[in-house]
Symmetry: C2
Subunit: 319 residues, 2 copies
Amino acid sequence: MGAALALAERGRGRTVPNPNVGCVIVREGRVVGRGWTQAGGRPHAEAMALSEAGTNARGATAYVTLEPCAHQSPRGPACSTLLIEAGVARVVAALEDPDARTAGQGFARLEAAGIAVTRSVRANEARRSMAGFLTRQALGRPHVTLKLATSLDGCIAMADGSSRWITGPQARAHAHLERSRHEAILVGRGTYDADAPRLDVRLPGLEARGPMRVLLSSTVQDMSGWTVIAAPHDIATLPGVDHILVEGGAAVASAFLAADLVDRLLLYRAPILIGGGKPALRDIGLTDLTKAHGRWAIVDARQLGMDRLEVYERERNEA
Amino acid sequence: MGAALALAERGRGRTVPNPNVGCVIVREGRVVGRGWTQAGGRPHAEAMALSEAGTNARGATAYVTLEPCAHQSPRGPACSTLLIEAGVARVVAALEDPDARTAGQGFARLEAAGIAVTRSVRANEARRSMAGFLTRQALGRPHVTLKLATSLDGCIAMADGSSRWITGPQARAHAHLERSRHEAILVGRGTYDADAPRLDVRLPGLEARGPMRVLLSSTVQDMSGWTVIAAPHDIATLPGVDHILVEGGAAVASAFLAADLVDRLLLYRAPILIGGGKPALRDIGLTDLTKAHGRWAIVDARQLGMDRLEVYERERNEA
Protein backbone atom coordinates (compact mmCIF):
# COMPACT_ATOMS: atom_id res chain seq x y z
CA MET A 1 0.00 0.00 0.00
CA GLY A 2 2.95 2.31 0.65
CA ALA A 3 4.01 1.90 -2.96
CA ALA A 4 0.45 2.52 -4.17
CA LEU A 5 0.25 5.71 -2.08
CA ALA A 6 3.56 6.89 -3.55
CA LEU A 7 2.30 6.26 -7.10
CA ALA A 8 -0.90 8.16 -6.28
CA GLU A 9 1.20 11.26 -5.58
CA ARG A 10 2.29 11.36 -9.22
CA GLY A 11 -1.17 12.37 -10.31
CA ARG A 12 -1.87 14.94 -7.61
CA GLY A 13 -3.09 18.18 -9.08
CA ARG A 14 -3.75 16.76 -12.55
CA THR A 15 -6.55 14.16 -12.40
CA VAL A 16 -9.67 16.32 -12.04
CA PRO A 17 -12.50 15.32 -12.16
CA ASN A 18 -11.17 12.00 -10.86
CA PRO A 19 -9.22 11.24 -7.69
CA ASN A 20 -5.49 10.61 -7.90
CA VAL A 21 -5.39 6.88 -7.18
CA GLY A 22 -2.40 4.54 -7.05
CA CYS A 23 -2.41 0.79 -7.68
CA VAL A 24 0.17 -1.98 -7.30
CA ILE A 25 -0.44 -5.59 -8.36
CA VAL A 26 1.61 -8.27 -6.60
CA ARG A 27 1.82 -11.95 -7.57
CA GLU A 28 3.84 -14.44 -5.56
CA GLY A 29 5.77 -11.64 -3.86
CA ARG A 30 6.69 -9.86 -7.09
CA VAL A 31 5.27 -6.56 -8.37
CA VAL A 32 3.74 -7.34 -11.77
CA GLY A 33 1.89 -4.08 -12.38
CA ARG A 34 1.89 -0.47 -11.25
CA GLY A 35 -0.50 2.30 -12.16
CA TRP A 36 -1.70 5.76 -11.21
CA THR A 37 -4.55 7.90 -12.47
CA GLN A 38 -3.33 9.73 -15.54
CA ALA A 39 -3.66 13.42 -16.37
CA GLY A 40 -7.30 14.34 -16.93
CA GLY A 41 -8.46 11.35 -14.88
CA ARG A 42 -8.09 8.46 -17.40
CA PRO A 43 -6.89 5.76 -17.57
CA HIS A 44 -7.60 4.88 -13.97
CA ALA A 45 -4.80 3.48 -11.81
CA GLU A 46 -6.20 -0.07 -11.85
CA ALA A 47 -6.55 -0.08 -15.64
CA MET A 48 -2.94 1.00 -16.05
CA ALA A 49 -1.63 -1.55 -13.55
CA LEU A 50 -3.70 -4.40 -15.04
CA SER A 51 -2.48 -3.49 -18.49
CA GLU A 52 1.10 -3.77 -17.29
CA ALA A 53 0.44 -7.03 -15.46
CA GLY A 54 -1.31 -8.76 -18.37
CA THR A 55 -1.91 -12.44 -17.60
CA ASN A 56 0.22 -12.13 -14.45
CA ALA A 57 -2.79 -10.51 -12.79
CA ARG A 58 -4.49 -13.92 -12.55
CA GLY A 59 -4.48 -14.99 -8.87
CA ALA A 60 -2.64 -11.82 -7.87
CA THR A 61 -3.37 -9.21 -5.15
CA ALA A 62 -4.20 -5.64 -6.17
CA TYR A 63 -3.35 -2.88 -3.68
CA VAL A 64 -5.34 0.24 -4.47
CA THR A 65 -5.71 3.51 -2.58
CA LEU A 66 -9.44 3.86 -3.33
CA GLU A 67 -12.33 1.47 -3.84
CA PRO A 68 -12.39 0.39 -7.52
CA CYS A 69 -15.20 2.13 -9.38
CA ALA A 70 -18.44 0.30 -10.03
CA HIS A 71 -19.86 2.45 -12.81
CA GLN A 72 -19.39 2.07 -16.53
CA SER A 73 -18.46 5.42 -18.08
CA PRO A 74 -18.26 6.65 -21.68
CA ARG A 75 -14.55 7.12 -20.95
CA GLY A 76 -13.88 3.49 -20.01
CA PRO A 77 -15.10 0.35 -18.28
CA ALA A 78 -15.52 0.10 -14.50
CA CYS A 79 -12.34 -0.92 -12.70
CA SER A 80 -14.20 -3.50 -10.64
CA THR A 81 -15.16 -5.21 -13.94
CA LEU A 82 -11.55 -5.08 -15.15
CA LEU A 83 -10.27 -6.64 -11.91
CA ILE A 84 -12.86 -9.44 -12.10
CA GLU A 85 -12.08 -10.14 -15.76
CA ALA A 86 -8.35 -10.24 -15.05
CA GLY A 87 -8.86 -12.95 -12.44
CA VAL A 88 -7.40 -11.05 -9.49
CA ALA A 89 -7.72 -13.12 -6.29
CA ARG A 90 -7.65 -10.34 -3.70
CA VAL A 91 -8.10 -6.57 -3.48
CA VAL A 92 -6.64 -4.53 -0.62
CA ALA A 93 -8.07 -1.01 -0.52
CA ALA A 94 -7.40 2.06 1.64
CA LEU A 95 -10.69 3.93 1.33
CA GLU A 96 -14.28 3.47 0.25
CA ASP A 97 -15.19 5.74 -2.66
CA PRO A 98 -17.57 8.48 -1.47
CA ASP A 99 -18.84 8.98 -5.05
CA ALA A 100 -22.51 7.93 -4.97
CA ARG A 101 -22.05 5.91 -8.18
CA THR A 102 -19.62 3.57 -6.35
CA ALA A 103 -19.91 4.01 -2.53
CA GLY A 104 -19.47 0.36 -1.55
CA GLN A 105 -20.81 -1.11 -4.80
CA GLY A 106 -17.28 -1.59 -6.13
CA PHE A 107 -16.40 -3.77 -3.15
CA ALA A 108 -19.76 -5.58 -3.40
CA ARG A 109 -19.21 -6.45 -7.05
CA LEU A 110 -15.70 -7.79 -6.32
CA GLU A 111 -16.94 -9.94 -3.45
CA ALA A 112 -19.88 -11.23 -5.48
CA ALA A 113 -17.29 -12.43 -8.04
CA GLY A 114 -15.41 -14.35 -5.33
CA ILE A 115 -12.58 -11.83 -4.83
CA ALA A 116 -11.38 -11.38 -1.23
CA VAL A 117 -11.57 -7.70 -0.21
CA THR A 118 -9.60 -6.05 2.64
CA ARG A 119 -10.72 -2.52 3.50
CA SER A 120 -9.33 0.49 5.42
CA VAL A 121 -5.61 -0.21 5.04
CA ARG A 122 -3.68 3.02 5.74
CA ALA A 123 -6.88 4.97 5.32
CA ASN A 124 -5.59 8.20 6.92
CA GLU A 125 -2.71 8.43 4.50
CA ALA A 126 -5.03 7.76 1.59
CA ARG A 127 -7.37 10.49 2.84
CA ARG A 128 -4.46 12.90 2.85
CA SER A 129 -3.34 11.71 -0.56
CA MET A 130 -6.76 12.32 -2.15
CA ALA A 131 -7.64 15.38 -0.11
CA GLY A 132 -8.60 17.38 -3.19
CA PHE A 133 -11.12 14.86 -4.50
CA LEU A 134 -12.50 14.14 -1.02
CA THR A 135 -12.90 17.83 -0.13
CA ARG A 136 -14.70 18.41 -3.43
CA GLN A 137 -17.01 15.45 -2.66
CA ALA A 138 -17.66 16.44 0.95
CA LEU A 139 -17.69 20.24 0.85
CA GLY A 140 -18.20 21.09 -2.83
CA ARG A 141 -15.03 23.15 -3.05
CA PRO A 142 -11.29 22.64 -3.61
CA HIS A 143 -8.91 21.60 -0.86
CA VAL A 144 -7.11 24.77 0.29
CA THR A 145 -3.46 24.97 1.32
CA LEU A 146 -2.20 28.22 2.81
CA LYS A 147 1.50 28.92 2.47
CA LEU A 148 3.27 31.25 4.90
CA ALA A 149 6.99 32.02 4.90
CA THR A 150 7.95 33.83 8.09
CA SER A 151 10.74 34.81 10.43
CA LEU A 152 10.79 33.33 13.95
CA ASP A 153 8.81 36.35 15.12
CA GLY A 154 6.08 35.72 12.55
CA CYS A 155 6.90 38.43 10.02
CA ILE A 156 6.48 37.91 6.26
CA ALA A 157 8.44 41.05 5.35
CA MET A 158 10.27 43.99 6.87
CA ALA A 159 8.26 47.09 7.69
CA ASP A 160 9.23 48.57 4.30
CA GLY A 161 7.82 45.48 2.54
CA SER A 162 11.11 43.84 1.57
CA SER A 163 10.90 40.07 1.80
CA ARG A 164 13.77 38.83 -0.41
CA TRP A 165 14.79 36.61 1.05
CA ILE A 166 13.40 35.36 4.31
CA THR A 167 13.70 31.67 3.45
CA GLY A 168 16.60 30.06 1.59
CA PRO A 169 16.82 28.27 -1.77
CA GLN A 170 15.82 24.82 -0.48
CA ALA A 171 12.61 26.15 1.08
CA ARG A 172 11.80 28.14 -2.05
CA ALA A 173 12.36 25.07 -4.24
CA HIS A 174 10.02 23.10 -2.02
CA ALA A 175 7.40 25.81 -2.38
CA HIS A 176 7.71 25.51 -6.17
CA LEU A 177 7.20 21.74 -5.90
CA GLU A 178 4.05 22.44 -3.90
CA ARG A 179 2.81 24.73 -6.69
CA SER A 180 3.16 21.86 -9.16
CA ARG A 181 0.84 19.74 -6.99
CA HIS A 182 -2.02 22.24 -7.16
CA GLU A 183 -4.31 23.02 -10.06
CA ALA A 184 -4.46 26.67 -9.03
CA ILE A 185 -2.54 29.23 -7.00
CA LEU A 186 -4.19 32.32 -5.57
CA VAL A 187 -2.79 35.69 -4.50
CA GLY A 188 -4.11 39.10 -3.59
CA ARG A 189 -3.51 42.38 -5.36
CA GLY A 190 -0.40 43.31 -3.36
CA THR A 191 1.37 40.04 -4.11
CA TYR A 192 0.24 40.25 -7.73
CA ASP A 193 1.78 43.69 -8.10
CA ALA A 194 5.02 42.58 -6.46
CA ASP A 195 5.41 39.09 -7.85
CA ALA A 196 3.12 38.39 -10.84
CA PRO A 197 5.89 37.42 -13.28
CA ARG A 198 7.28 34.93 -10.75
CA LEU A 199 4.16 32.95 -9.98
CA ASP A 200 5.17 29.91 -11.98
CA VAL A 201 6.85 26.57 -11.29
CA ARG A 202 10.59 27.00 -11.57
CA LEU A 203 11.83 23.45 -11.20
CA PRO A 204 13.68 21.49 -13.90
CA GLY A 205 11.24 19.22 -15.72
CA LEU A 206 8.19 20.75 -14.07
CA GLU A 207 8.02 24.06 -15.95
CA ALA A 208 4.91 22.85 -17.81
CA ARG A 209 3.10 22.19 -14.52
CA GLY A 210 2.25 25.86 -14.06
CA PRO A 211 -1.09 26.01 -12.27
CA MET A 212 -4.04 28.27 -13.04
CA ARG A 213 -3.38 31.73 -11.61
CA VAL A 214 -6.18 33.21 -9.54
CA LEU A 215 -6.44 36.75 -8.22
CA LEU A 216 -8.64 37.54 -5.24
CA SER A 217 -9.87 41.10 -5.64
CA SER A 218 -13.14 42.86 -5.10
CA THR A 219 -12.16 45.75 -7.36
CA VAL A 220 -10.30 44.21 -10.32
CA GLN A 221 -12.71 42.74 -12.90
CA ASP A 222 -10.42 41.29 -15.49
CA MET A 223 -6.73 40.53 -15.74
CA SER A 224 -5.12 38.91 -18.76
CA GLY A 225 -3.89 35.40 -18.03
CA TRP A 226 -5.61 35.42 -14.65
CA THR A 227 -8.91 34.23 -13.23
CA VAL A 228 -10.37 36.84 -10.90
CA ILE A 229 -12.65 36.00 -7.97
CA ALA A 230 -14.20 38.47 -5.55
CA ALA A 231 -14.43 36.40 -2.37
CA PRO A 232 -12.78 33.31 -0.87
CA HIS A 233 -15.90 31.16 -1.24
CA ASP A 234 -15.80 31.71 -5.00
CA ILE A 235 -13.03 29.12 -5.23
CA ALA A 236 -15.87 26.58 -5.42
CA THR A 237 -16.63 27.84 -8.92
CA LEU A 238 -13.15 27.43 -10.39
CA PRO A 239 -13.32 24.79 -13.14
CA GLY A 240 -11.00 21.80 -12.87
CA VAL A 241 -9.56 22.84 -9.52
CA ASP A 242 -9.53 20.37 -6.63
CA HIS A 243 -6.40 21.78 -4.96
CA ILE A 244 -5.68 25.49 -4.55
CA LEU A 245 -2.58 27.01 -2.99
CA VAL A 246 -3.11 30.39 -1.29
CA GLU A 247 0.21 32.24 -1.43
CA GLY A 248 -0.49 35.62 0.10
CA GLY A 249 -0.29 38.25 1.22
CA ALA A 250 -1.51 38.72 4.77
CA ALA A 251 -4.93 40.11 3.79
CA VAL A 252 -5.71 37.14 1.55
CA ALA A 253 -4.41 34.60 4.08
CA SER A 254 -6.52 36.21 6.79
CA ALA A 255 -9.64 36.28 4.62
CA PHE A 256 -9.36 32.55 3.95
CA LEU A 257 -8.75 31.77 7.63
CA ALA A 258 -11.61 34.00 8.73
CA ALA A 259 -13.88 32.06 6.35
CA ASP A 260 -12.51 28.77 7.78
CA LEU A 261 -11.53 27.76 4.27
CA VAL A 262 -7.97 26.63 5.02
CA ASP A 263 -7.49 22.86 5.22
CA ARG A 264 -3.70 22.70 5.31
CA LEU A 265 -1.05 25.15 6.45
CA LEU A 266 2.48 25.14 5.03
CA LEU A 267 4.67 27.12 7.41
CA TYR A 268 8.18 27.84 6.19
CA ARG A 269 10.23 29.44 8.98
CA ALA A 270 13.66 31.00 8.69
CA PRO A 271 15.93 31.20 11.78
CA ILE A 272 15.89 35.00 11.78
CA LEU A 273 14.30 37.77 13.79
CA ILE A 274 12.91 40.81 11.97
CA GLY A 275 11.15 42.84 14.67
CA GLY A 276 8.40 45.31 13.85
CA GLY A 277 7.91 43.77 10.40
CA LYS A 278 4.78 42.90 8.48
CA PRO A 279 2.83 40.28 10.43
CA ALA A 280 1.82 37.06 8.68
CA LEU A 281 -1.84 37.59 9.52
CA ARG A 282 -4.40 40.28 10.18
CA ASP A 283 -7.61 39.80 12.11
CA ILE A 284 -9.08 36.34 11.45
CA GLY A 285 -12.16 36.79 13.61
CA LEU A 286 -10.82 35.20 16.78
CA THR A 287 -12.80 36.44 19.77
CA ASP A 288 -11.51 34.19 22.54
CA LEU A 289 -8.09 32.59 22.97
CA THR A 290 -9.57 29.28 24.08
CA LYS A 291 -11.24 28.98 20.67
CA ALA A 292 -7.86 29.12 18.95
CA HIS A 293 -6.86 25.76 20.39
CA GLY A 294 -7.61 22.33 18.95
CA ARG A 295 -7.91 23.56 15.38
CA TRP A 296 -4.47 22.70 13.95
CA ALA A 297 -2.58 19.42 14.13
CA ILE A 298 0.98 19.09 12.94
CA VAL A 299 1.32 16.29 10.38
CA ASP A 300 4.83 16.83 9.03
CA ALA A 301 8.00 18.75 9.89
CA ARG A 302 11.29 18.82 8.08
CA GLN A 303 14.46 20.81 7.73
CA LEU A 304 14.99 22.57 4.38
CA GLY A 305 18.50 23.96 4.46
CA MET A 306 18.57 26.54 7.25
CA ASP A 307 14.79 26.72 7.32
CA ARG A 308 12.11 24.57 8.87
CA LEU A 309 8.91 23.46 7.21
CA GLU A 310 5.95 22.55 9.38
CA VAL A 311 2.73 21.23 7.87
CA TYR A 312 -0.50 21.56 9.83
CA GLU A 313 -3.97 20.28 9.02
CA ARG A 314 -7.25 21.73 10.13
CA GLU A 315 -8.93 19.41 12.64
CA ARG A 316 -12.53 19.24 11.51
CA ASN A 317 -13.67 16.36 13.72
CA GLU A 318 -15.84 15.04 10.97
CA ALA A 319 -17.36 11.60 11.08
CA MET B 1 32.12 13.47 30.70
CA GLY B 2 28.41 13.22 29.99
CA ALA B 3 27.80 12.42 33.66
CA ALA B 4 30.02 15.32 34.72
CA LEU B 5 28.10 17.70 32.44
CA ALA B 6 24.82 16.48 33.93
CA LEU B 7 26.10 17.08 37.48
CA ALA B 8 27.24 20.56 36.45
CA GLU B 9 23.62 21.44 35.63
CA ARG B 10 22.68 21.02 39.29
CA GLY B 11 24.58 24.15 40.20
CA ARG B 12 23.43 26.37 37.35
CA GLY B 13 22.15 29.68 38.60
CA ARG B 14 23.54 29.27 42.13
CA THR B 15 27.35 29.18 42.03
CA VAL B 16 28.24 32.85 41.45
CA PRO B 17 31.04 33.99 41.58
CA ASN B 18 32.27 30.55 40.51
CA PRO B 19 31.39 28.49 37.44
CA ASN B 20 29.01 25.55 37.79
CA VAL B 21 31.42 22.66 37.28
CA GLY B 22 30.76 18.91 37.37
CA CYS B 23 33.25 16.16 38.22
CA VAL B 24 33.16 12.35 38.10
CA ILE B 25 36.01 10.15 39.34
CA VAL B 26 36.29 6.67 37.80
CA ARG B 27 38.56 3.86 39.00
CA GLU B 28 38.74 0.55 37.19
CA GLY B 29 35.47 1.20 35.39
CA ARG B 30 33.53 2.15 38.53
CA VAL B 31 32.37 5.62 39.57
CA VAL B 32 33.97 6.28 42.96
CA GLY B 33 33.19 9.98 43.34
CA ARG B 34 30.78 12.61 42.00
CA GLY B 35 30.74 16.31 42.68
CA TRP B 36 29.35 19.62 41.50
CA THR B 37 30.01 23.19 42.54
CA GLN B 38 27.82 23.94 45.53
CA ALA B 39 25.61 26.97 46.13
CA GLY B 40 27.73 30.09 46.55
CA GLY B 41 30.62 28.51 44.66
CA ARG B 42 32.19 26.26 47.34
CA PRO B 43 33.11 23.46 47.70
CA HIS B 44 34.28 23.06 44.13
CA ALA B 45 33.16 20.02 42.13
CA GLU B 46 36.56 18.31 42.35
CA ALA B 47 36.78 18.77 46.13
CA MET B 48 33.35 17.20 46.57
CA ALA B 49 34.10 14.28 44.25
CA LEU B 50 37.52 13.62 45.85
CA SER B 51 35.94 13.71 49.30
CA GLU B 52 33.45 11.05 48.20
CA ALA B 53 36.16 8.94 46.54
CA GLY B 54 38.58 9.01 49.50
CA THR B 55 41.47 6.61 48.93
CA ASN B 56 39.73 5.22 45.84
CA ALA B 57 40.96 8.32 43.99
CA ARG B 58 44.48 6.90 43.90
CA GLY B 59 45.26 5.85 40.32
CA ALA B 60 41.78 6.94 39.15
CA THR B 61 40.66 9.17 36.27
CA ALA B 62 38.89 12.46 37.04
CA TYR B 63 36.46 13.80 34.45
CA VAL B 64 35.86 17.48 34.99
CA THR B 65 33.99 20.05 32.89
CA LEU B 66 36.54 22.84 33.52
CA GLU B 67 40.27 23.00 34.11
CA PRO B 68 40.97 22.48 37.83
CA CYS B 69 41.87 25.77 39.51
CA ALA B 70 45.51 26.60 40.20
CA HIS B 71 45.09 29.31 42.82
CA GLN B 72 44.90 28.93 46.55
CA SER B 73 41.95 30.92 47.93
CA PRO B 74 40.93 31.90 51.45
CA ARG B 75 37.86 29.77 50.79
CA GLY B 76 39.79 26.56 50.10
CA PRO B 77 42.82 24.94 48.51
CA ALA B 78 43.36 24.80 44.72
CA CYS B 79 41.69 21.81 43.07
CA SER B 80 44.85 20.98 41.13
CA THR B 81 46.62 20.56 44.50
CA LEU B 82 43.82 18.33 45.78
CA LEU B 83 43.95 16.11 42.66
CA ILE B 84 47.75 15.76 42.96
CA GLU B 85 47.59 14.96 46.69
CA ALA B 86 44.86 12.36 46.09
CA GLY B 87 47.11 10.53 43.62
CA VAL B 88 44.81 10.77 40.60
CA ALA B 89 46.48 9.23 37.53
CA ARG B 90 44.62 11.07 34.78
CA VAL B 91 42.47 14.17 34.32
CA VAL B 92 40.06 14.55 31.39
CA ALA B 93 38.79 18.12 31.03
CA ALA B 94 36.30 19.81 28.73
CA LEU B 95 37.50 23.42 28.83
CA GLU B 96 40.47 25.53 29.84
CA ASP B 97 39.59 28.01 32.58
CA PRO B 98 39.55 31.57 31.15
CA ASP B 99 40.12 33.00 34.66
CA ALA B 100 43.56 34.65 34.56
CA ARG B 101 44.49 33.04 37.88
CA THR B 102 44.26 29.58 36.28
CA ALA B 103 44.27 29.86 32.43
CA GLY B 104 46.36 26.78 31.68
CA GLN B 105 48.30 26.78 34.96
CA GLY B 106 45.96 24.17 36.42
CA PHE B 107 46.81 21.76 33.59
CA ALA B 108 50.52 22.66 33.86
CA ARG B 109 50.62 21.86 37.57
CA LEU B 110 48.90 18.51 37.01
CA GLU B 111 51.31 17.54 34.24
CA ALA B 112 54.31 18.66 36.28
CA ALA B 113 53.13 16.21 38.96
CA GLY B 114 53.03 13.36 36.41
CA ILE B 115 49.27 13.32 35.84
CA ALA B 116 48.14 12.63 32.27
CA VAL B 117 45.87 15.42 31.02
CA THR B 118 43.37 15.16 28.16
CA ARG B 119 41.89 18.48 27.05
CA SER B 120 38.87 19.68 25.01
CA VAL B 121 36.53 16.72 25.52
CA ARG B 122 32.96 17.80 24.71
CA ALA B 123 34.07 21.41 24.91
CA ASN B 124 30.99 22.84 23.15
CA GLU B 125 28.63 21.27 25.63
CA ALA B 126 30.75 22.51 28.52
CA ARG B 127 30.72 26.01 27.03
CA ARG B 128 26.92 25.87 26.96
CA SER B 129 26.83 24.45 30.48
CA MET B 130 28.93 27.28 31.92
CA ALA B 131 27.59 30.02 29.67
CA GLY B 132 26.92 32.34 32.61
CA PHE B 133 30.45 32.23 33.98
CA LEU B 134 32.03 32.38 30.52
CA THR B 135 29.91 35.34 29.40
CA ARG B 136 30.80 37.18 32.60
CA GLN B 137 34.50 36.45 31.97
CA ALA B 138 34.42 37.39 28.28
CA LEU B 139 31.90 40.23 28.14
CA GLY B 140 31.65 41.45 31.72
CA ARG B 141 27.90 40.90 31.91
CA PRO B 142 25.42 38.07 32.61
CA HIS B 143 24.40 35.54 29.99
CA VAL B 144 20.99 36.62 28.67
CA THR B 145 18.16 34.27 27.73
CA LEU B 146 15.09 35.76 26.05
CA LYS B 147 11.86 33.82 26.45
CA LEU B 148 9.06 34.22 23.92
CA ALA B 149 5.77 32.30 23.97
CA THR B 150 3.94 32.79 20.70
CA SER B 151 1.28 31.50 18.36
CA LEU B 152 2.31 30.12 14.95
CA ASP B 153 1.81 33.61 13.54
CA GLY B 154 4.20 35.13 16.06
CA CYS B 155 1.72 36.76 18.44
CA ILE B 156 2.27 36.92 22.20
CA ALA B 157 -1.29 38.02 22.94
CA MET B 158 -4.58 38.87 21.28
CA ALA B 159 -5.13 42.47 20.19
CA ASP B 160 -6.92 43.14 23.51
CA GLY B 161 -3.88 41.92 25.43
CA SER B 162 -5.25 38.58 26.58
CA SER B 163 -2.58 35.90 26.62
CA ARG B 164 -3.95 33.23 28.97
CA TRP B 165 -3.21 30.80 27.71
CA ILE B 166 -1.26 30.57 24.51
CA THR B 167 0.96 27.67 25.60
CA GLY B 168 -0.17 24.68 27.65
CA PRO B 169 0.76 23.42 31.13
CA GLN B 170 3.86 21.44 30.06
CA ALA B 171 5.40 24.47 28.33
CA ARG B 172 4.60 26.70 31.29
CA ALA B 173 6.16 24.19 33.71
CA HIS B 174 9.29 24.15 31.55
CA ALA B 175 9.42 27.94 31.67
CA HIS B 176 9.29 27.76 35.46
CA LEU B 177 12.18 25.28 35.44
CA GLU B 178 14.13 27.76 33.33
CA ARG B 179 13.45 30.47 35.93
CA SER B 180 15.04 28.26 38.59
CA ARG B 181 18.22 28.09 36.50
CA HIS B 182 18.70 31.86 36.41
CA GLU B 183 19.81 34.18 39.21
CA ALA B 184 17.51 36.92 37.91
CA ILE B 185 14.42 37.41 35.77
CA LEU B 186 13.64 40.70 34.09
CA VAL B 187 10.39 42.19 32.83
CA GLY B 188 9.13 45.55 31.66
CA ARG B 189 6.44 47.71 33.21
CA GLY B 190 3.57 46.19 31.25
CA THR B 191 4.40 42.64 32.29
CA TYR B 192 5.01 43.80 35.85
CA ASP B 193 1.57 45.35 36.03
CA ALA B 194 -0.08 42.27 34.57
CA ASP B 195 1.92 39.49 36.17
CA ALA B 196 4.02 40.71 39.14
CA PRO B 197 2.57 38.31 41.72
CA ARG B 198 3.21 35.38 39.41
CA LEU B 199 6.89 35.93 38.67
CA ASP B 200 8.11 33.13 40.91
CA VAL B 201 9.09 29.48 40.49
CA ARG B 202 6.02 27.32 40.85
CA LEU B 203 7.46 23.82 40.75
CA PRO B 204 7.32 21.32 43.62
CA GLY B 205 10.61 21.40 45.53
CA LEU B 206 11.91 24.45 43.70
CA GLU B 207 9.78 27.16 45.35
CA ALA B 208 12.85 28.45 47.20
CA ARG B 209 14.72 28.94 43.93
CA GLY B 210 12.93 32.20 43.18
CA PRO B 211 15.38 34.41 41.29
CA MET B 212 16.07 38.11 41.82
CA ARG B 213 13.28 40.14 40.19
CA VAL B 214 14.45 42.95 37.94
CA LEU B 215 12.31 45.67 36.37
CA LEU B 216 13.49 47.52 33.28
CA SER B 217 12.03 51.00 33.41
CA SER B 218 13.32 54.46 32.66
CA THR B 219 10.62 56.12 34.77
CA VAL B 220 10.18 53.95 37.86
CA GLN B 221 12.92 54.63 40.46
CA ASP B 222 12.10 52.21 43.20
CA MET B 223 9.85 49.20 43.62
CA SER B 224 9.65 47.14 46.77
CA GLY B 225 11.08 43.65 46.31
CA TRP B 226 12.44 44.57 42.90
CA THR B 227 15.72 45.79 41.48
CA VAL B 228 15.12 48.54 38.92
CA ILE B 229 17.45 49.24 36.00
CA ALA B 230 17.03 51.93 33.38
CA ALA B 231 18.66 50.33 30.33
CA PRO B 232 19.51 46.82 29.10
CA HIS B 233 23.27 47.33 29.53
CA ASP B 234 22.74 47.93 33.25
CA ILE B 235 22.38 44.17 33.74
CA ALA B 236 26.19 44.18 34.01
CA THR B 237 25.84 45.89 37.38
CA LEU B 238 23.48 43.35 38.99
CA PRO B 239 25.30 41.70 41.90
CA GLY B 240 25.56 37.91 41.90
CA VAL B 241 23.87 37.49 38.53
CA ASP B 242 25.56 35.43 35.81
CA HIS B 243 22.31 34.28 34.14
CA ILE B 244 19.32 36.53 33.49
CA LEU B 245 16.03 35.51 31.93
CA VAL B 246 14.24 38.25 29.99
CA GLU B 247 10.53 37.42 30.08
CA GLY B 248 8.84 40.31 28.30
CA GLY B 249 6.96 42.09 27.03
CA ALA B 250 7.65 42.97 23.41
CA ALA B 251 9.26 46.34 24.21
CA VAL B 252 11.75 44.80 26.63
CA ALA B 253 12.53 41.89 24.31
CA SER B 254 13.11 44.30 21.43
CA ALA B 255 15.34 46.59 23.53
CA PHE B 256 17.59 43.66 24.45
CA LEU B 257 17.73 42.42 20.84
CA ALA B 258 18.43 45.92 19.51
CA ALA B 259 21.35 46.15 21.96
CA ASP B 260 22.54 42.69 20.80
CA LEU B 261 22.38 41.52 24.39
CA VAL B 262 20.51 38.26 23.81
CA ASP B 263 22.66 35.12 23.87
CA ARG B 264 19.95 32.48 23.90
CA LEU B 265 16.38 32.44 22.67
CA LEU B 266 13.71 30.19 24.18
CA LEU B 267 10.83 30.05 21.73
CA TYR B 268 7.69 28.31 23.00
CA ARG B 269 5.18 27.95 20.16
CA ALA B 270 1.58 26.86 20.44
CA PRO B 271 -0.17 25.27 17.41
CA ILE B 272 -2.67 28.10 17.14
CA LEU B 273 -3.28 31.09 14.90
CA ILE B 274 -4.32 34.41 16.47
CA GLY B 275 -4.28 36.91 13.61
CA GLY B 276 -3.88 40.62 14.18
CA GLY B 277 -2.60 40.06 17.72
CA LYS B 278 0.28 41.64 19.61
CA PRO B 279 3.52 40.85 17.79
CA ALA B 280 6.38 39.24 19.72
CA LEU B 281 8.78 42.02 18.74
CA ARG B 282 8.90 45.68 17.84
CA ASP B 283 11.68 47.34 15.86
CA ILE B 284 15.04 45.77 16.72
CA GLY B 285 17.10 48.01 14.45
CA LEU B 286 17.24 45.70 11.44
CA THR B 287 17.97 47.75 8.32
CA ASP B 288 18.59 45.03 5.75
CA LEU B 289 17.10 41.54 5.51
CA THR B 290 20.43 39.99 4.60
CA LYS B 291 21.79 41.13 7.96
CA ALA B 292 19.14 39.09 9.77
CA HIS B 293 20.67 35.82 8.59
CA GLY B 294 23.49 33.88 10.23
CA ARG B 295 22.78 35.24 13.70
CA TRP B 296 20.76 32.41 15.27
CA ALA B 297 21.54 28.70 15.36
CA ILE B 298 19.06 26.15 16.65
CA VAL B 299 20.61 24.03 19.42
CA ASP B 300 17.59 22.17 20.81
CA ALA B 301 13.98 21.44 19.91
CA ARG B 302 11.43 19.44 21.80
CA GLN B 303 7.75 18.81 22.10
CA LEU B 304 6.09 20.00 25.33
CA GLY B 305 2.54 18.67 25.25
CA MET B 306 0.84 20.36 22.29
CA ASP B 307 3.55 23.03 22.11
CA ARG B 308 7.01 23.08 20.64
CA LEU B 309 10.10 24.52 22.29
CA GLU B 310 12.96 25.66 20.10
CA VAL B 311 16.21 26.93 21.61
CA TYR B 312 18.45 29.19 19.55
CA GLU B 313 21.86 30.60 20.35
CA ARG B 314 23.36 33.80 19.06
CA GLU B 315 26.23 33.03 16.68
CA ARG B 316 28.98 35.41 17.72
CA ASN B 317 31.80 33.86 15.69
CA GLU B 318 34.22 34.58 18.46
CA ALA B 319 37.67 33.06 18.59
